[in-house]
């Protein structure tokens, strides 16, 4: 229960970071924190019945961790980091003309 609360707090911190941080890079880092929270939540849920790796062996029945959410979140991690890489490339391009990377300034320059 405590762990779940911590995970949800991480997600919320990330979410509020996206809203309240002014700098574009900080926003991207906040998004990363939020996705860390989501990943942690997947890991937490998959370990609700136990922590053992599910491998067939002679050991008696013990509490196994659920492999499905872990497999799924692996995909999501890869997608998340590739999107972040893409965003950072975009930010690099934008940084040439907007060296401060203040979101409000960039927005003002680039909205009709």
């Amino acid at each position: 229960m405590l762990l779940e609360a911590c995970v949800l707090a991480t997600m919320l911190c990330g979410f509020f970071g996206i809203i309240f941080k002014k700098n574009l890079v900080m926003k991207i880092i906040s998004m990363d924190i939020m996705s860390t929270g989501v990943i942690a939540y997947y890991v937490l849920i998959s370990s609700r019945d136990g922590l053992f790796t599910p491998i067939v062996s002679n050991v008696d029945r013990v509490g196994y961790a659920d492999p499905v959410p872990q497999a799924v979140i692996l995909t999501a991690i890869v997608i998340g980091f590739s999107i972040q890489a893409l965003m950072l490339v975009g930010v690099m391009k934008l940084a040439k003309n907007n060296p401060t990377l203040e979101t409000s300034a960039i927005e003002e320059n680039n909205t009709p």
Binding site: F15, I18, Y42, V68, G80
Partner: protein
């Protein structure tokens, strides 16, 4: 059929990378993929039973393919083909076609998958491919618009992931079916992701800027098919699960009214079309049973309109009213506008009739107002001045807008604004694209020819006439400019939290009622 389906899903991704290796064949390969999808859609349409495929054991990928998907796939195929032909002579690099085809493939994937994780993967691939297409001109503005899109959709998808996990926790499966046994917060989180991705209601307010500032062919694809990737899963869930249906219908009506409310006051052609997309998605959601047909007609008409808006001499309605446009272009514009207002002989009519027959009583008033708003906003296009002799006046028009449109030019976007020699070449590609889209619009009448009864014909005509009168006497003179503050980036993200509360409350209320 299973093997064909798998090959068809994988093909666009494979060919997408092949295009990059064989840049000489780029356009042909892209067109071939669109044709393959069209053929596949027809095959599925003729299939008597829905196809349910379960790949790789019980935790694997599940697919549902039925007539509903075939409509969406067919739309995607036609729009992609039209966009490829439109771009044929514009000198786009192989990179553009590669992204267009990968986008096509991932949109197709969302139309067949039936579990939340496959959907997640497909939606994220869409985000990446769409970002690369929006940022294709490599100007600051295009990169910012793309980045904004990527940011909003990725944040929404993070919420979605949490929702998907809660569904798994409750059912030990990611299948759509599991939504019924899940807690309300799971449904709320998943719908938040889909609403933001599909551009529905207030979480869809990222859409106007994104769609209006992209290049015309890209806007045509985004507005024609990509938003439907977010809408389709909601329609699918509404059809599978009874208790989701009223929620989806409710958002259909509210987004239809919101979009049209903005569209009637908009003074910029492409922004008007973008707001109108928000409203039309409402029509798709308002009657989930017949969503396929509406999506088909809207996809065709909206991409045609975006392509036409791209070659008009100006984006400002005020300027267009003083600047006669070429009559041929005007005719294409009028056919598209008539179809979307629901004029008989075009399939927009059949789609509107079919949707209104499947509405629930409480939806009818809202949807009629939305239909009236549609007629008003498209009267702006229909009553534009036009003339036959194109060459000389058109050139003068061109010259005068380049000065005004300097900051448009900076987008480096529109090849339409290039030299006149280019202009001639583009025209042939443009006309072929129009033949596909508008031809499809007329041909699609066969799906629902029963609509042609006297009562059905009179009602849209009255709506259109009232709409035109309202436009000529009221809206033409109005100069209200709605504030754009809510489209700011921070607000777009902030609105998500509000939407989450609204969704949770709606769904919790409903499930409380059921118990």
């Amino acid at each position: 059929m299973t093997e064909i389906t798998i090959a068809w899903i994988a093909l666009p991704f494979f060919i997408g990378f092949v295009i990059y290796l064989l840049p000489k064949l780029d356009r042909w390969l892209a067109l071939a993929i669109a044709t393959v999808s069209a053929v596949y859609a027809v095959l599925i349409f003729l299939e008597p039973f829905p196809l349910e495929i379960q790949l790789l054991d019980s935790f694997g990928v599940s697919l549902i393919i039925d007539q509903l998907s075939s409509f969406f796939i067919f739309t995607n195929a036609l729009v992609t083909a039209a966009v490829v032909i439109y771009c044929w002579q514009t000198g786009k690099t192989a990179f553009f076609y590669m992204q267009a085809i990968i986008l096509h493939g991932s949109v197709n994937a969302t139309f067949v998958c039936a579990d939340f994780i496959s959907l997640y993967v497909a939606l994220e691939v869409i985000s990446i491919a769409a970002f690369l297409l929006i940022a294709y001109p490599r100007t600051d503005r295009s990169i910012w618009v793309g980045l904004r899109y990527l940011f909003v959709s990725n944040t929404a998808m993070l919420f979605y992931l949490v929702g998907a996990l809660l569904v798994y926790k409750a059912n030990n499966s990611f299948h759509y079916q599991g939504l019924s046994g899940s807690p309300p917060e799971a449904v709320a989180l998943i719908f938040l992701g889909l609403l933001a991705k599909g551009g529905i209601f207030v979480s869809g307010l990222w859409l106007p800027l994104t769609h209006s500032e992209s290049e015309s062919p890209v806007s045509a694809m985004l507005s024609g098919v990509v938003v439907k990737a977010g809408v389709f899963p909601m329609v699918r869930c509404a059809l599978l699960l009874e208790e989701i249906d009223p929620v989806v219908r409710f958002f259909g009506v509210s987004t239809a009214l919101l979009g049209v409310g903005y569209a009637v006051f908009e003074k910029d052609t492409k922004r008007m079309l973008a707001f109108h997309t928000i409203s039309q998605l409402g029509f798709v959601l308002a009657a989930p049973v017949v969503a396929g047909f509406y999506a088909l007609t809207h996809g065709l008409v909206k991409s045609a309109l975006f392509l036409i808006a791209g070659i008009l001499p100006s984006r400002n309605f005020k300027q267009l009213q003083h600047q006669p446009i070429d009559r041929q272009i005007w005719i294409a514009l009028v056919i598209a506008s008539f179809s979307i207002s629901g004029f008989p002989l075009l399939s927009g009519f059949g789609a509107k009739v079919l949707t209104s027959e499947n509405l629930l009583p409480w939806q009818v008033v809202g949807m009629n107002i939305a239909a009236l708003g549609t007629a008003i906003s498209f009267a702006k296009f229909i009553f534009l001045p036009h003339q036959t002799s194109p060459p000389v006046p058109l050139l003068i028009g061109e010259g005068s807008i380049t000065r005004r449109g300097e900051h448009h030019e900076e987008r480096g976007a529109s090849p339409e604004e290039g030299s006149n020699v280019d202009k001639k070449k583009i025209q042939s590609g443009f006309w072929w694209a129009m033949v596909i889209l508008l031809g499809g619009l007329i041909g699609a009448n066969v799906f629902y020819y029963e609509a042609y009864t006297l009562k059905n014909i009179v009602k849209p005509l009255i709506t259109i006439v009232i709409g035109w009168l309202a436009y000529l006497f009221i809206f033409k003179k109005l100069t209200i400019k709605l504030p754009r503050a809510i489209e700011k980036f921070d607000h777009l993200i902030g609105v998500m939290s509000l939407m989450l509360f609204l969704l949770f409350w709606t769904i919790w209320e409903r499930s409380g009622g059921l118990i």
